[in-house]
């Protein structure tokens, strides 16, 4: 099949894989890449900047899909720390669970995690959309600046601590809210936003939007003030 590349990381190296992916231009015909035997290796498919699909069969280590632009990356397995950190655009889909700091500082694009995400999911997010079908760990969306985090399961402690303008939607329970994070009313515009994110994640119609609660910044820490001393 033309444009189909198979790379076996049992014999080839991550360096060779990434070098080949980085050589692709925006008009490449080599649009489908299958990676086997990732065995928890780090930085698999990091720094890709081309509209290609990369399917990875097995678990990946840290920073898979880091700084991704345009590519669609599917991981048939679990992902280690910093999945798709600083993602700019494109789509990263993990069929298993994701470790800490999934989508950290992501600026755009979408990450879908079929299982659970560990602590600090979406930390310092700057525009990425993250949809987690399971639950997220503590300090998720810490200092989140922009983008949205949608959690179909539960959220751990200190959700949205020191939050800026990221939007958080959780269907299950929230163990506790972090400093300056509050529950906010779900208005039509928020329901529309949530519906759009769920649709983009391939979940249109399968989840009841009415079951979600919305959380956001109370914006009381936006200016240094004596009355907030205990929060700093």
């Amino acid at each position: 099949m033309s444009g189909h590349h198979a790379i076996d990381l049992a014999t080839g190296s991550v360096r060779e894989l990434n070098a080949a992916l980085h050589a692709l231009g925006p008009d490449t015909n080599e649009t489908l890449w299958r990676v086997s035997n990732p065995r928890g290796l780090h930085a698999v498919a990091a720094g890709v900047d081309a509209p290609v699909t990369i399917e990875i069969d097995g678990p990946v280590g840290y920073y898979c899909g880091g700084m991704n632009k345009h590519a669609s990356i599917v991981i048939n397995g679990n992902a280690g720390v910093g999945l798709a950190q600083n993602i700019m655009s494109g789509f990263v889909h993990v069929k298993g669970d994701a470790s800490q700091s999934a989508g950290a500082t992501g600026c755009g694009g979408m990450i879908v995690i079929d299982g659970n995400a560990s602590a600090r999911c979406g930390i310092s997010m700057k525009g990425v959309d993250i949809v987690v079908k399971g639950s997220v760990g503590h300090m998720s969306a810490f200092m989140g600046q922009a983008g949205s985090l949608v959690v179909l399961g539960d959220a751990g402690e200190a959700l949205g601590d020191s939050l800026y303008e990221a939007r958080l939607f959780v269907r299950g329970t929230v163990a506790s809210l972090g400093a300056d994070c509050i529950e906010k009313a779900m208005r039509d515009e928020h329901r529309a936003l949530l519906a759009a994110k769920l649709e983009a994640a391939g979940l249109a119609g399968s989840v009841d939007i009415g079951e979600f609660k919305r959380y956001g910044s109370a914006r009381t820490l936006y200016h240094f003030h004596v009355d907030n001393v205990s929060s700093y």
């Binding site: 991550v14 360096r15 990434n18 070098a19 980085h22 780090h42 930085a43 990091a46 720094g47 900047d49 280590g61 840290y62 920073y63 880091g66 700084m67 632009k69 720390v81 910093g82 950190q85 600083n86 700019m88 800490q100 700091s101 950290a104 500082t105 600026c107 600090r120 930390i123 310092s124 700057k126 525009g127 810490f142 200092m143 600046q145 922009a146 020191s162 800026y164 303008e165 936006y222 200016h223 240094f224 003030h225 004596v226 001393v229």
Partner: protein
């Protein structure tokens, strides 16, 4: 009956403990309920390079002739792993200072001055601007906990990458940029609302500790195809171990910033009380490299209070490959210049002491985002002043190196130095002048 008017009176006595500054700070704190935030570095007196002297040549070592005999100053950084190491013509670089804390004109001036002298500038907590990339021939791109403006395109445009773990002014603290300076452009680059008091994270969001750092470095190398030198910058706290761990994690270059190092905005209590002086840090960092057999293989850049060519020479003699300057570069551009004294007075301060850089009202137009104030700084003329200043630092450093008989500034060594104080002797591990005593190491008085 004693006549009180004839009793000798003592003169009013100010307390050394509760001095004038301390009292004013207590009153300020009592009035506001919030800590003092300011720019610049530690202002207290600290053991520093002034406490060291060079021995110069004598019968047993001969000097080199000024001008006629060459004394090289070139430094190559990133020879360990990077495919494209960078070469600086002088051993002095411009430290990372963010666009946001500095005006676009100031950043451009830094780029112009540094490029004229064949050295690098560094971005900061706020991303890379076009102006900066254009005006800097060699640009180091900082990778900070906040990751403001971070993106793979700028990463690939950079000539080197500096992972910032800490800063000497605030080891363990994150950046601050107050609302006055969060203009629309600055806010957009950082993805933040306009006008808020911004606190940067103090820890990286996706790694902690040396084992993670190793993987992070690997990822950045992968993204940039192993081309760029990768620096790790630490605030001087435990420089021996931090240097060793940076080497273990795969750094090409280690940057150690002492407590005198400047900042754009940090709590005063942090600046003055956390971290160790540059003098103490250099020797420990160099020792770690030597113990690992990595001295000169992993390059060491030292910063924090570098002011003149003697400071440069002393840092190099203690084992650094290059130094970085922040505050001095801003002063060369025109910061704190007496020319603006009337305006400093209006701000309740005086030229030379102005450190409210976070307020964005800098009369010299450097630490501000105010269009009218920044327009006062001509980037071409200011860049020229910086180039002149860098030339003087280099000439001064060469003057000392030649006097010590060195054909390259890197040939300066601890044996060329003595200390004026016991503290400096102990920290720099060079003998107290006139003795062979290095406290804690060798000899007797």
């Amino acid at each position: 009956m004693s006549d009180l008017s004839k009793t000798p009176r003592t003169v009013p006595r100010a307390s050394a403990t509760f001095d004038e500054y301390t009292l004013s700070e207590i009153r300020r704190a009592a009035a506001t309920g919030i800590y003092d935030i300011r720019g610049a570095g530690a202002k207290r007196k600290l053991p520093h390079f002034d406490d060291l002297l060079f021995l110069g040549a004598s019968i047993s070592r001969y000097p080199l002739e000024g001008y006629r005999e060459k004394c090289s100053t070139e430094v190559v950084l990133g020879t360990r792993f990077a495919k494209k190491p960078i070469t600086l013509k002088i051993p002095i670089t411009i430290a990372g200072m963010s666009f946001g804390s500095l005006s676009a004109n100031a950043k451009e001036a830094l780029g112009r001055g540094a490029s004229a002298m064949g050295t690098s500038t560094t971005t900061g907590d706020g991303g890379m601007t076009q102006e900066e990339r254009q005006s800097s021939q060699i640009l180091v791109y900082q990778y900070l906990p906040s990751r403001y403006g971070m993106n793979p395109d700028d990463l690939r445009k950079a000539d080197a990458i500096e992972i910032v773990v800490g800063q000497g002014a605030k080891p363990g603290g994150g950046g601050m940029l107050l609302g006055q300076k969060i203009t629309e452009r600055v806010a957009a680059m950082r993805t933040l609302p306009v006008g808020i008091d911004q606190r940067s994270a103090c820890r990286h969001p996706d790694w902690t500790g040396p084992d993670d750092l190793e993987i992070k470095i690997e990822e950045l190398r992968e993204i940039t195809d192993w081309e760029k030198p990768i620096y790790v910058k630490v605030g001087a706290a435990r420089p021996y171990y931090d240097t060793a761990l940076a080497v273990k994690s795969g750094a090409d270059v280690v940057v150690v910033d002492g407590m005198q190092g400047g900042t754009a905005a940090t709590q005063e209590v942090f600046i003055e009380n956390v971290g160790i002086p540059t003098l103490a840090a250099v020797r420990q960092a160099a020792q770690a490299l030597q113990d690992l057999g990595m001295h000169r293989k992993v390059q060491l850049i030292v910063s924090g209070g570098i002011r003149n060519g003697a400071d440069v020479a002393k840092a190099l003699a203690l084992g650094a490959d290059a130094v970085a300057i922040g505050t001095a570069a801003l002063v060369a551009l025109g910061d704190n210049d007496p020319h603006w004294e009337a305006e400093y007075q209006a701000l309740g301060t005086t030229a030379g002491a102005y450190d409210d850089w976070h307020e964005g009202r800098d009369p010299a137009g450097i630490t501000t985002q105010d269009p009218a104030l920044s327009a006062r700084l001509d980037p071409v003329a200011a860049g020229r002043r910086l180039a002149n200043y860098l030339a003087v630092l280099t000439l001064e450093c060469q003057t000392i190196a030649r006097a010590c008989g060195k054909s390259h500034v890197h040939n300066l060594e601890p044996e060329d130095l003595v200390a004026l104080t016991i503290e400096a002797a102990a920290m720099a591990r060079v003998p107290l002048a006139g003795t062979d005593w290095i406290p804690g190491v060798t000899g007797r008085f």
